[in-house]
């Protein structure tokens, strides 16, 4: 290990996250590789190592001959200070080498509040922030992940964005890169060729102009770049890479377990949910393959916990069969299974009982809205009778605590809907009182509300976020009506949600604000230890940008949106229709009941999706 690093590590918190050396970490011989890729997650080690996407891309790229993919995470404040003082540049965990010398640097963008960390990590690596200030083929800065569907706020800093699932397109990108290096292309030539690869968006090839009112006027592609870049999906989900041999961290992380991905996409079409739309078309994995992968991954890693993950696990058709198969192995081997994202119905309850037979922890439901009317408007399929019936059953079988998640600020929400949340909590409490075998034990009902953030590529992408004052008024209204000692109410902090709303639907003008805020010290904005709203307000003012323009403004139907240059497969017309139906409180049936023509099926080979 680098001597200076050895000197620093005893002085920082949790030094094991900066050393590498974990079981299954891939260490290759520098001399035998010709492409070095730095896979960066713009948050701490504990958060980044819990991310399945990172592990998948790590495995896919390291399987390639001559390619070495290393992990890079954002060092915590104390470590960053030491690194800057001692002159240590940001390094890959496996080799300890400075990533500025690598060929490709890829950022995984999972959430908008990580944007300042992206800039901070580029700076810590010793690289210029702006794409136009980096010359030559190495390094090329790449970004992908959910936030790449609106890449505009990071457009000046990133050379190219990879949209959608990276398993196939990362391989193609590296092969193109090798060709470029061999034939001595310039960076411009490389980027122009990359723009021709389906799923790659090169922001520097698009000329953006604005109207006097601040909205987008035109986005003109150059050098033959496509007018719209459509995301990529893996062609055969069954055959696609799953990290059976995966890194087992030596230190504690957030999600320290085997994660099995059951299927991608979601049939429900909840109008607020970006993930449900963005991961369409629905594709499932064969349960026999999952069984094999899950058991092998447990054996290889020594993990004693396994999670079945997907957007809506109850909708996985062979779920019971899969659980039977897994439990047969897991029970004697003392591996516990967890199934988050289940629907609130009795079938799921029975399943959860079989799976969580050791200790009954709390149950979590996410009705999102307080009244049936609003739930219909957002297409969240939780009929109240079902919810209450399930609660009664759960309580009689001994599940003592329940968490209910809601959002405030949903489109068409009224005060009546807000109070509906308090009503629902009250009904749940009464249901407990009626059915509990043990009233002295008491019950813990926790209600949590978050401030709704409209996201791009959803039916609500035209909606305004309600203002901060309005959000706080609704929280106060709810608090005053939430009675009962057994009911606890938590509400989500408003300031980060406001910024999230700005970045989620921001354009290139927001990029300047991000850079300004970073220069003033902004980083780790998702962490309360570092987030400073005043600093952001000052940055907006300094750049002459009004954040309310992005967060609180209703978009017109024919307004050109900054993310129109990307496509997740779902058509804009479909989303507008859904929006109209929301205002009429009309439910759209789920994909299994009737195909509603979202358009994502065109991405599938043969044009048929697996709903």
């Amino acid at each position: 290990m680098n001597r200076t690093l050895e000197h620093i590590l005893p002085r920082v918190q949790k030094p094991a996250r900066y050393t590498g050396g974990e079981y299954n970490a891939v260490v290759k011989d520098r001399r035998s590789v010709d492409v070095r890729y730095a896979l960066c997650f713009p948050d701490t080690y504990e958060i980044g190592m819990s991310n399945l996407g990172m592990r998948i891309l790590y495995g896919v790229m390291n399987q390639m001959d001559g390619v070495w993919c290393e992990r890079v995470f954002a060092p915590w404040g104390d470590m960053e200070e030491e690194m800057r003082r001692e002159g240590i540049l940001l390094y890959g965990l496996e080799s300890g080498d400075s990533i500025a010398d690598f060929d490709l640097i890829g950022f995984s963008l999972g959430y908008e509040m990580a944007y300042t960390n992206v800039l901070n990590m580029l700076d810590l690596a010793g690289l210029p922030l702006r794409s136009e200030e980096r010359y030559g083929l190495a390094p090329i800065v790449v970004a992908g992940g959910t936030c790449a569907y609106n890449p505009e706020p990071l457009a000046p800093f990133v050379d190219l964005f990879v949209l959608g699932e990276g398993e196939d397109v990362s391989v193609e990108l590296i092969q193109l890169y090798r060709k470029a290096r061999e034939e001595c292309w310039s960076k411009e030539e490389f980027l122009a060729a990359a723009a021709q690869v389906p799923g790659i968006y090169v922001p520097s090839l698009y000329q953006v102009s604005y109207k006097p009112d601040g909205t987008l006027d035109q986005v003109i592609p150059q050098e033959g770049a496509p007018a719209v870049v459509t995301k990529r999906i893996v062609q055969d989900f069954d055959k696609s890479y799953f990290p059976v041999k995966t890194i087992v961290p030596s230190t504690e992380i957030v999600h320290d377990r085997v994660m099995l991905e059951l299927f991608r996409g979601c049939i429900r079409g909840c109008r607020f949910c970006q993930a449900g739309y963005a991961y369409r078309p629905v594709r499932s994995r064969d349960p026999e393959i999952l069984l094999k992968q899950g058991i092998e991954a447990c054996k290889d890693s020594g993990y004693q916990e396994m999670t079945l993950s997907s957007l809506s696990t109850s909708d996985y058709r062979p779920l019971e069969h899969l659980c039977d198969g897994l439990l047969e192995w897991c029970e004697p081997n003392k591996v516990s299974l967890s199934l988050p994202s289940l629907r609130a119905d009795n079938f799921s309850l029975g399943l959860m009982e079989r799976v969580q037979h050791v200790r009954k922890s709390g149950l979590t439901f996410a009705p999102e809205a307080g009244t049936q009317r609003l739930r219909d408007a957002i297409t969240k399929p939780v009929p109240e009778e079902d919810l209450l019936r399930t609660r009664r059953t759960a309580m009689s079988r001994g599940w003592p605590s329940v968490k209910l998640y809601f959002m405030l600020g949903l489109p068409t929400e009224t005060d009546e809907d807000v109070l509906g949340i308090a009503d629902l909590a009250e009904k749940v409490y009464r249901a407990w009182k009626e059915t509990t075998p043990n009233p002295k034990r008491g019950v813990n009902i926790t209600v949590s509300t978050a401030w709704f953030v409209p996201k791009p590529h959803t039916a609500f992408q035209w909606e305004p976020q309600i203002s901060m004052e309005e959000y706080q008024r609704r929280v106060k209204l709810l608090r005053e009506h939430m009675k009962g000692r057994s009911i606890k109410y938590n509400w989500h902090d408003s300031q980060t949600s406001f910024l999230e709303a700005v970045f989620a639907r921001g354009d290139r003008k927001v990029a300047q604000v991000i850079e300004t805020a970073w220069r003033e010290g902004a980083k780790f904005d998702a962490w309360s230890e570092y987030f400073d709203f005043d600093r952001w307000q000052a940055a907006f003012a300094a750049c002459g940008v009004d954040p309310a323009f992005y967060a609180n403004r209703t978009r017109e139907k024919d307004e050109r949106l900054p993310w129109d240059v990307t496509s997740v497969g779902v058509s804009k017309d479909f989303l507008w229709r859904e929006r109209q139906r929301a205002y009429q409180a009309v439910i759209t049936p789920d994909c299994r009941v009737q195909c509603t023509g979202c358009g994502a099926n065109k991405l599938c080979p043969g044009g048929k999706c697996d709903a």
Partner: protein, 287 residues
């Protein structure tokens, strides 16, 4: 109770005590070695490390206690090493004999590094510091009301050798291990406080051996204690030895060792100075 003798070095130095136990639990699973679990509502694999190592220290003599169920002990090290993260190496797995409470002393090598070279006079300053009759330092304590407690280092130091090399000063310390134990970081803190000119820019800590008393290794066939630097025996004071290379005396540990003559074997007894030689007593300070 079985014991694993392992070393912890390089990147593994920074794995904390709790994380290390969990790493071992998972490694046993990966290696396919079944070990005993605890009883109770939430059974988990039983592993225990009797003398925790501070984060950042390397060690050649760590011990992990567990109960291996159905694997022959000789197979355990190789299988574990294939399943452990970098920097942790299991040397052997054996049936524990001596109780942990007899692990009375620990030998540390503490290297004080100076960027501009060891300051003039630092070696003798440190040596005289450690030869004082008493050296009291404040230490953080959870039990004391004020959060701090005073401790006299000298009775807890069985031996302290100070040697200057070009850029560093090496301390060969034998410190009390438990009830109460002394962490060598406190010794370095004492140097910083009392000889500020000799304060190092950086310190490397390495635990070399666990001892039952200042000379005898605690567990059978542990790393040999190297001879004291200033006393090199040219001739064996115990007299001529049998031609098979053994030391000719019945082995004090009572083991029928690998020597060809059965009850005698070549052991550290041959290299230890004879019992008449004086060893520094704790109250007298180091040489």
């Amino acid at each position: 109770m079985h014991r694993l003798a392992f070393s912890k070095a390089d990147t593994a130095k920074f794995i904390s005590h709790l994380d290390l136990m969990r790493t071992f639990q998972r490694s046993f699973l990966r290696a396919g070695i079944a070990i005993k679990h605890t009883e109770g509502f939430n059974p988990h694999a039983f592993v225990s490390i009797p003398l925790p190592l501070s984060v950042g220290f390397s060690s050649g003599c760590e011990v992990l206690e567990c109960q291996v169920l159905d694997t022959p002990l000789e197979e355990v090290p190789a299988r574990m090493n294939a399943a452990l993260p970098a920097g942790i190496t299991v040397h052997r797995c054996y049936e524990g004999v001596r109780p942990v409470k007899e692990l009375a002393y620990v030998n540390y090598i503490v290297t004080l590094e100076y960027e501009a070279g060891a300051p003039f006079g630092a070696e003798s300053a440190i040596r005289s510091l450690l030869e004082r009759p008493s050296l009291v330092m404040e230490k953080r304590s959870k039990k004391a009301k004020s959060g701090k407690v005073e401790v006299d280092l000298i009775p807890l130091i069985a031996r302290a050798d100070v040697e200057e090399r070009r850029d560093t000063i090496a301390l060969d310390l034998i410190l009390k291990a438990q009830n109460p134990g002394l962490n060598p970081e406190l010794v370095v803190a004492a140097i910083r406080a009392n000889c500020p000119d000799a304060a190092p820019d950086y310190t490397v800590f390495h635990r070399r051996a666990g001892l039952a008393d200042p000379v005898q290794p605690w567990d059978e066939r542990k790393t040999r204690l190297p001879p004291r630097r200033k006393s090199i025996f040219v001739t064996d004071p115990a007299g001529p030895r049998p031609p098979d290379g053994s030391c000719g005396t019945p082995c004090p540990s009572g083991r029928a060792g690998r020597g060809s003559t059965g009850r005698t074997h070549r052991c550290t007894a041959a290299r230890r100075p004879p019992p008449e030689t004086e060893f520094p007593r704790p109250a007298g300070g180091g040489r």
